[in-house]
């Protein structure tokens, strides 16, 4: 256990480096490439009404006339202190605009993640009881199929089926961003299922591969010869090591989950950070876009850090090797 602490420290330091690079990418993408925040935010037709002097004043006010590296250091410092400044047009604090959408999206993604993991573990164990058997083929075929369904298509089909044909629920549940969290939870039911259809399929494929590998290993065979029942080998011996490839894919998976929820939120009009991002893109509010992109990357990196530590705890081999891929 004592050897794990320096390793965790190393991961933390690496995560900090990666997050700084992310901030640099976001800064380059939003502020340097297209000119600057002022010309990006104000539409071209309105820009014509400003005198060059006014624009220069606004530039100065936002510090856009300073060298790029100073501006980056400032953005970096702002993002890392989680103080995201004010919006350009209305001058409201970015923090206020993204706080509730962020909590709502965290509820959505968190519930989706929990449902997904439960479903994936059940399906993965069932499928690996007899690899190549009828149940395995049925589950594997279905997941390859659902994995191929675009998330906005799945969401729209849900709207058609549940709202139009069955009339069970309203097509979209209108909830304001600061609605009580129980209302948000109710509004999240269909989006959660829509996210799971795609995401669970991906995780299932990783888990199944790991399970089959683990069940073919020497120790599983030994346990079998020792008379341990098949289901106990599956759950007690194979599952922990089969979780490792799944956990190694956490960064990619959480990133995909966030990508997916931007789309799904937009279909169901869910008042989350995805909808806020689209609004910010339409208004070209650079500070909000920066904040959301940075927070999304932060979520991915933190999730990956937790998964890394979980892998260290699960796999005694990793604890001794220090190679980081």
């Amino acid at each position: 256990m004592t050897r794990m602490i320096p390793m965790i420290g190393r991961r933390l330091a690496l995560s900090f480096v990666i997050l700084s690079l992310t901030a640099l990418i976001v800064f380059l993408g939003t502020e340097v490439l297209p000119g600057d925040a002022i010309t990006a935010t104000i539409p071209a037709e309105e820009l014509a009404f400003y005198t060059p002097q006014q624009i220069a004043e606004m530039r100065h006010e936002y510090g856009l006339d300073r060298p790029v590296y100073l501006r980056f250091l400032e953005v970096w410092q702002r993002l890392f202190s989680l103080d995201f400044g004010t919006t350009i047009v209305k001058r409201e604090p970015v923090y206020d605009r993204i706080l509730h959408p962020m909590i709502n999206s965290a509820i959505l993604a968190g519930v989706a993640l929990a449902v997904m993991l439960a479903a994936v573990i059940v399906l993965g164990v069932l499928a690996s009881l007899r690899p190549g058997g009828r149940l395995d083929n049925a589950i594997s075929g279905t997941t390859l199929f659902t994995y191929s369904m675009p998330d906005f298509v799945v969401s729209n089909i849900f709207v058609i089926v549940f709202a139009v044909w069955l009339g069970l629920s309203p097509a979209v549940i209108f909830a304001s961003t600061d609605a009580p969290k129980l209302t948000i939870l109710a509004a999240a039911i269909l989006p959660v299922v829509a996210l799971c259809v795609h995401g669970a399929a991906y995780q299932f494929r990783l888990l199944r591969t790991g399970m089959i590998e683990a069940l073919n290993s020497d120790y599983a065979e030994r346990a079998q010869l020792a008379g341990v029942p098949a289901w106990r080998i599956c759950i007690g011996h194979a599952l922990p090591s089969a979780l490792i490839p799944m956990l190694n894919g956490t960064a990619a998976f959480v990133a995909a989950l966030l990508s997916g929820s931007v789309v799904v939120e937009s279909v169901f009009k869910f008042p989350g950070i995805g909808s806020e991002l689209l609004r910010a893109l339409a208004q070209r509010e650079i500070p909000i876009i920066q904040a959301i992109a940075f927070l999304a990357a932060l979520a991915v990196i933190v999730a990956n850090l937790i998964a890394d530590i979980a892998v260290l705890a699960l796999d005694p081999r990793v604890r001794t090797s220090s190679r980081h891929g």
């Binding site: 690496l14 480096v17 990666i18 997050l19 690079l21 992310t22 640099l24 990418i25 976001v26 993408g29 939003t30 490439l33 297209p34 075929g141 390859l144 199929f145 994995y147 191929s148 369904m149 675009p150 998330d151 906005f152 298509v153 729209n156 089909i157 709207v159 058609i160 139009v164 097509a171 991906y202 494929r205 990783l206 591969t209 490839p245 190694n248 960064a251 990619a252 998976f253 990133a255 995909a256 966030l258 990508s259 931007v262 789309v263 937009s266 279909v267 991002l277 689209l278 893109l281 339409a282 070209r284 876009i289 959301i292 992109a293 999304a296 990357a297 991915v300 990196i301 990956n304 891929g325």
Partner: protein, 291 residues
């Protein structure tokens, strides 16, 4: 989603033709190949097949299907059949060009990082980690904001987004290749690093490149249509399935098939690619967990 370490097995001893046969003996793989072939055919020749100009107003809005308009007309009176069969062209073209650039750049960086290693590897990989921790759709949105909404500007955007996953996969494969005997032998013969990369490593990456091309093009098509659906990608009057799903949301209660048809087209393309790649990857002994 394609960036999980690709643990490829050693090259199989069986000749290529029998591996192909084995791949095509699976009905699911054949199903995938047929879907992909049909989609490629449409992408290449749909303007010749389409009975009407897909972006011209040719009839009254929302006409029922008839011999003249096989799938009726949309809300503003464009021929829906022509729009459906042309709706994947631009997305596929943009994805293909973008992914081709991503593969070229990604392979070079990945092979160098994997074979040269050291400080260079460390720097490249941390940059890859950073790029890949920004969710794809947010990254694409930022880049389209920077480069403009022009269709051709989407090509460098796709390249910039998909390059990093390729780096990771190619680096992993290069590391596993460079421990094998034939690379060791070349090193002992005193060949230069460049010669080893060109003659020993690159030829062994071709199968993986094929898989990467198919998987990433389909993933890029998916992202571009999602983007068009959100109003950030391909814009009117170009026919695009994602855009058509978006337009159809307005009439979903009266004419749900406007939504279902482009959705089916898009899904069949992605399903086709995934079934095809899954089958070939299995037959060629490439682990398909990265699908």
């Amino acid at each position: 989603m394609v960036d999980v370490l690709n643990v490829a097995s050693e090259t199989t001893a069986t000749p290529r033709s029998s591996t192909l046969k084995r791949a095509l003996s699976q009905p699911a793989t054949v199903f995938g190949v047929i879907l992909v072939a049909a989609h490629l055919f449409l992408a290449l020749f749909s303007p010749l097949i389409a009975p009407h100009d897909s972006s011209a107003l040719v009839g009254a809005p929302l006409l029922r299907p008839s011999w003249e308009f096989l799938m009726g007309t949309d809300q503003i009176g464009r021929d829906y059949f022509s729009r459906i069969i042309e709706g994947g062209r631009i997305a596929l073209l943009v994805s293909f060009c973008g992914v081709a650039i991503a593969l070229a750049v990604g392979t070079i960086l990945g092979v160098l990082a994997g074979y040269v290693g050291g400080r260079f590897d460390e720097i490249i990989m941390r940059f890859v980690d950073a790029m890949m921790s920004i969710p794809e759709i947010i990254l694409i949105a930022i880049l389209t904001l920077a480069l403009g909404k022009d269709i051709w500007a989407l090509i460098p955007v796709v390249a910039a987004v998909y390059c990093w996953g390729v780096v990771r996969v190619m680096r992993a494969k290069t590391i596993s290749l460079s421990t094998l005997d034939f690379v060791r032998a070349a090193e002992l013969r005193g060949e230069t690093r460049l010669a080893i990369i060109l003659r020993e490593i690159l030829p062994n990456l071709t199968g993986l490149l094929g898989v990467e091309l198919a998987v990433r093009v389909s993933s890029a098509v998916l992202r571009i249509s999602a983007l068009s659906f959100l109003g950030l990608g391909i814009s009117q009057p170009t026919p695009d399935w994602g855009l058509m799903v978006q337009e159809a949301m307005g009439v979903v209660f009266t004419d749900p098939w406007f939504l279902l048809l482009p959705a089916v087209m898009l899904s069949t393309l992605i399903i086709g690619v995934n079934f095809m790649v899954d089958g070939f990857a299995r037959a060629f002994g490439i682990a398909s967990t990265e699908l």
